[in-house]
Amino acid sequence: MRFHLTEEQSAIQDAIRGTLADCWPMERLHAFADGDTDFDQTSWDALMRLGLGSILLPDSGMGLLDAALVCEVAGEAAAPGPLIGQLLAVAAVSNASNEAAKAHLDALASGAAVATLAFTADDPAEAELMVPCARAAQYFLIGSRIGGISLVEAGEGVTITPLPSTDRSRPVSKVKFSGAKTLQLFAPEDPMTAKLYSAALVLVAADALGGAQKCTDMSVAYAKEREQFGQAIGAFQGLKHQLAHMALDVEPARALVWYAAYAHDADLPDAARAAAMAKAHLCDVYVRSTRAAVAAHGGIGYTWEYGLNYWFRRAAFDRAWLGSPSMQRARAAALAGW
């Protein structure tokens, strides 16, 4: 029986943490946030060099849990790029039987080609989809209950309208697909279609976990160093208890993310429901954590320069992406047969 991280898993997280600390410091984030692109090649290459792209290859010996641990660290660092889309595109293509699609697998697994996620409840042929990092993507992993899962190449038939984005680290665009070159991977009724959707929910939950942890860490560190009325503000019980509650919100939720990922990897009967619960719970936690962090910092937390706002904005994105907490809770209620 094992239900905590192995030393190797922790080591991988530390390695990614270190890489992002080098190639994605606050200055880079600031510059990117005010820039005009939706992708950062340097940090992308650095992450891909660690082999993250291939985590969800069937023969990698790793699984959604390991992918989640990666997304957690990315969330911590407010990393740019469509990491979740990339990981799932590799999972989808490598598990599909579409040979034409398989031809793109190497480029995807190596990260040489960038893929992003375009899931929707509506008919993707009709809808305008909100897609992160769309301008940088060579591939779109499209998913819907109507169309199942398919891989679309950027270019003809794909219209991209960049939007001013709340999330400055993962800018979104409105994307319209009409007559684009589409490779069908899984039919709507194929279990993989539902599984990939659940997997996406777990990875978003992991991103939220990392972000919420980061906000808590920043707040605790600030409370230790910042002095007022002649002492560290962290010595005042009022703030102290608020920080304790931030930690109480985040730390136990970690095991929920682990379980949802584990349930997916082990194909447990409650995997889909656990994914919905994790997405709902962690996105609520993330939003609460970012708000609590700004309050705990006071004025400086409200400044753009300090940077807290990037996580606040990621929390807003994660919360609204792929179904809000209340929508996921409604799903979870139905899945429980309530």
């Binding site: 005010d34 820039g35 005009d36 909100m130 309208t161 960049p162 939007l163 001013p164 984005s165 709340t166 999330d167 800018p171 979104v172 910042r226 002095e227 007022q228 009325f229 002492q231 503000i233 010595a235 005042f236 019980q237 009022g238 703030l239 608020q242 939003v287 708000r291 700004v294 309050a295 705990a296 006071g298 004025g299 937390g301 409200y302 400044t303 753009w304 320069e305 807290l308 706002n309 606040f312 807003a316 994105f317 919360r319 609204a320 992406w321 809000s324 907490p325 209340s326």
Partner: protein
């Protein structure tokens, strides 16, 4: 109880209406300087009639009226109704002038009040400093007397000055007695900001808001101000800065901002169709309970002010209540706007092509609702104020 203002007030209302009908009729063509002149002219008339600048003595251009919150309220309502301008807003009228009237010298009153009323002087507040946060008395900006003892030489930094880019003057706290205990040794000074040695910089907020109308940071490098611009005694600046404002500031409408925002939230839920969901209806009504409590408490405060009665602890709770309700509204709004949360609201100066300003504009409120916690743990300070002054609990074991 009775929410009508009474016959006397209604009579007064008719006077105001009559006055406004002929005194406030700006030709729609009026623009720029002409409009400005017309408004100045109007303000003079309105003041002569005792409708504006009621707390300011005649000798300084005010109408010197007895305190009467009901009349003040009726004036506000009628001027709003006629879309007629009232006094200049901002720190100058809200803080500098009352402070000068309370603690200023005749020379200072003569020097500053009229120009401030006219809007020629715009005042920035110089209280907060980096590192001071809620601990306003921890002033580090230094003030030293010039050799000839005629000027204060100021060095240091101030922060969170609203509209700082537009300010012509500043009222500020500086430490003049470095060896005196914290709350002593602070002096209250006025300063002309248009002089060498003054550097200002806007502070970009998490909403992305930036520019002339946001907060500012000031740096002072051997900036001078005459000793005659010192308000109150040297070393007594802390007490001067506590000068409380005049009673007429109690206004029925003080909670309208919140009420209007709640109305907009209901509209949002209606536009999105989600108002038909039991979950949303319950959450809206739950929040409205607090909104109503806040609204009618503001009536209560107004009524007490009118009668000169003490409203008790509730007056200490309004700000924190506002913060907490704003927080709840933000969370619900975030649920209601759904994927519009992806889109940067215009105010945030997002890059790229402008999307039409739809429900995403709520992202401003969702982030802005955190602005109340500006100035270091303000809410925890509010909690202490309620507990200590409101409930009579002991001061922090810590402090």
């Amino acid at each position: 109880m009775d929410l009508s203002y009474g016959a006397e007030a209604e009579e007064f209302r008719l006077d105001i209406r009559a006055f406004l009908t002929d005194a406030w009729a700006p030709a729609t063509a009026l623009r720029g300087a002409e409009l400005k002149a017309y408004i100045a002219e109007f303000r003079l008339k309105a003041t002569k009639r005792g409708y504006l600048h009621r707390a300011i003595p005649k000798q300084y251009g005010g109408s010197e009226q007895p305190v009467d919150v009901i009349r003040a309220q009726v004036i506000r309502e009628e001027f709003q109704r006629a879309r007629a301008p009232m006094e200049m807003g901002g720190n100058g009228m809200n803080m500098t002038v009352p402070t000068l009237l309370e603690a200023g010298t005749d020379e200072q009153k003569a020097l500053f009040i009229r120009q401030t009323m006219a809007g020629d002087y715009i005042w920035g507040q110089g209280y907060s400093e980096p590192g001071s946060g809620s601990d306003l008395a921890s002033v580090r900006t230094k003030g030293e007397l010039s050799a000839d003892g005629t000027k204060w030489i100021i060095n240091g930094q101030k922060i969170w000055t609203s509209q700082g880019m537009l300010s012509t003057h500043m009222f500020m706290l500086v430490r003049t007695e470095p060896d005196a205990p914290k709350h002593d040794g602070i002096t209250y000074l006025l300063m002309d900001l248009n002089q060498p040695g003054v550097t200002r910089r806007t502070i970009r907020q998490m909403t992305g808001e930036d520019g002339d109308h946001t907060f500012c940071e000031f740096f002072f490098d051997n900036v001078e101000t005459p000793v005659s611009w010192q308000v109150g005694e040297r070393g007594k600046g802390w007490q001067v800065s506590r000068t409380t404002l005049k009673h007429e500031r109690a206004a029925i409408g003080s909670a309208d901002g919140l009420g209007n925002q709640f109305k907009k939230l209901v509209e949002l839920a209606t536009e999105t169709g989600r108002i038909k969901e039991p979950l949303i209806r319950d959450q809206l009504a739950r929040i409205e309970g607090f909104v109503m409590a806040h609204r009618y408490s503001s009536f209560r405060l107004f009524s007490c002010a009118a009668a000169g009665d003490n409203p008790g602890p509730v007056s200490l709770m309004m700000k924190l209540a506002l913060t907490e309700i704003g927080h709840e509204m933000a969370l619900l709004a975030q649920e209601l706007i759904g994927e519009y949360a992806f889109i940067e609201p215009a105010a945030a100066g997002g890059k790229g092509p402008r999307a039409p300003r739809g429900p995403e504009k709520w992202m401003d409120q969702i982030m802005g609702s955190l602005g109340n916690s500006i100035a270091g743990g303000a809410s925890n300070i509010q909690r202490n104020i309620i507990a200590e002054r409101g409930l009579g609990l002991p001061r922090d074991a810590a402090a």
